[in-house]
């Protein structure tokens, strides 16, 4: 009698444990292990016939060892958000200038970008953890990204950077993200070409 009760209790506990584990795995399937979105591709952000527009982005010019602001061409797509995404891509690609180098760590991609009604641009990046990236470089990278958006688009009031869809304390280990994202002392943004 006693043995049967014990077996039943054990079976009951196993069933509860199994249910918990099944639920946990199911939740992981919906959340933690989400596949990464495909990086934003420039070709999908404009159509032929869209006029060019000039923006300005910060790049590193290795020959002089300086960060400089260079012009870059984007397309004046109908969607303002698509123009902003092009700006981020132009920044990540060093304005397409072969003599310049991007301030971003190698392999950084833009996953997605949103703009809230209050003017916060949420930029979701995938930033590889690069040990060959120092504090000043990381700070310049973040400041450059802020600059690429705040300086070129008047409707953007602040920039929030996400790494693989998540809020992150730091991108590569030194610069503190989160509460200090708006340090770039830029004048109010302008529309491209204005």
């Amino acid at each position: 009698m006693k043995r049967t009760v014990l077996i039943r209790v054990a079976l009951g506990l196993l069933a509860v444990l199994g249910a918990i584990l099944w639920r946990h795995e199911r939740m992981r399937g919906f959340g933690g292990d989400r596949p990464k979105p495909a990086p934003v591709s420039e070709s999908g952000l404009w159509v032929s016939g869209d006029k060019p527009a000039t923006i300005f982005v910060r790049v590193l010019v290795p020959s002089v060892g300086e960060v400089q602001t260079l012009p870059a061409l984007i397309h004046r797509s109908q969607s303002r958000l698509d123009q902003m995404k092009q700006s981020v891509l132009a920044y990540l690609n060093a304005a397409g200038n072969s003599k310049a180098r991007s301030l971003a760590p190698k392999g950084t991609v833009l996953n997605e970008m949103y703009l809230t009604d209050a003017g916060t641009a949420a930029v979701d990046l995938s930033v590889p953890l690069d040990p060959e990236f120092g504090f000043m470089e990381e700070a310049q990278f973040v400041e450059g990204l802020n600059h690429a958006l705040l300086q070129n688009f008047e409707e953007i009031k602040r920039v929030r950077i996400l790494n693989d869809g998540r809020e992150s304390g730091t991108l590569t280990g030194h610069f503190a993200l989160g509460t200090y994202e708006n340090l770039t002392n830029t004048s109010p943004g302008k529309k491209p070409d204005e």
């Binding site: 290795p62 209050a118 120092g134 470089e137 602040r158 280990g173 030194h174 989160g178």
Partner: protein, 238 residues
């Protein structure tokens, strides 16, 4: 009566002559460690340099009479929350945190110093965040915490030559010579006492590596920091 007055006067003189350093605790921390190497440039690894400088600074401060709390004393990984807990509860007057930087051109030289700009609040919503462009360095001085940190950074830094290439991030977040930056650093995120990140060198700069190629040179750097700290604690240069 006369003898007791003389004794009291002597006691007062002894108290006045007592070095300021005695009884003053300084917290020092070597950035990174263990599996967290920090920045790497060829064979140069940031965590090793930060430990070298921290050991020299600990020795220099101790020799000057300070009590020292060193957070990391060997090559091990201490999580940030543990570091912040130690630094904030050590009873220290200030915290000095050592890092070393790198950059791709190899031209930039140290040293430089980093203080934390004022927090603008957690951006959980758009409410309460400052507008872009509203925080130049001159306005940071309105923050008491930043003012204390700037005073500390200014105190420990003046005995060094300016950066060869300031590469200021933006004019308003750096001092005119580019040596002190008010830029958010992960090591300063949750520190409640006056604190400064000291970056003595760039691992990518050959001159910096040569300059600090001997223990004596590192010790000399630590002594300059100690002297500057003394001036700060005496209230000079405010």
């Amino acid at each position: 009566m006369r003898r007791s007055l003389l004794g009291a006067a002597l006691a007062c003189l002894c108290l006045l002559a007592r070095p300021l350093a005695a009884g003053t605790r300084i917290a020092v921390d070597a950035g990174h460690g263990g599996g967290d190497k920090g920045s790497v440039a060829g064979s140069q690894v940031e965590k090793d340099w930060t430990l070298k400088f921290t050991k020299a600074l600990t020795q220099s401060l101790t020799s000057a009479g300070y009590d020292v709390t060193a957070v990391r004393v060997k090559d091990d990984l201490i999580p940030y929350d543990k570091r912040f807990e130690i630094l904030n509860t050590a009873g220290a007057a200030v915290a000095l945190i050592l890092h070393a930087d790198r950059e791709s051109t190899g031209k930039t030289r140290g040293p430089f110093f980093v203080v934390q700009p004022p927090q603008s609040g957690t951006p959980a919503s758009d409410e309460g965040l400052p507008e872009a462009g509203s925080l130049p360095l001159s306005r940071y001085k309105q923050s008491l915490q930043l003012a204390r940190q700037l005073a500390l950074a200014t105190g420990v830094s003046p005995k060094f030559s300016p950066l060869s290439d300031p590469r200021a991030l933006a004019g308003d977040v750096s001092s005119p010579d580019g040596r002190i930056l008010a830029v958010p650093h992960q090591s300063l995120r949750y520190i409640a006492l006056p604190a400064v990140v000291i970056e003595p060198l760039f691992l990518t700069n050959p001159e910096d590596l040569e300059l600090f190629g001997t223990d004596a040179a590192i010790q000399a750097f630590a002594q300059k920091i100690t002297q500057g700290l003394g001036a700060y604690l005496r209230g000079e240069g405010k």
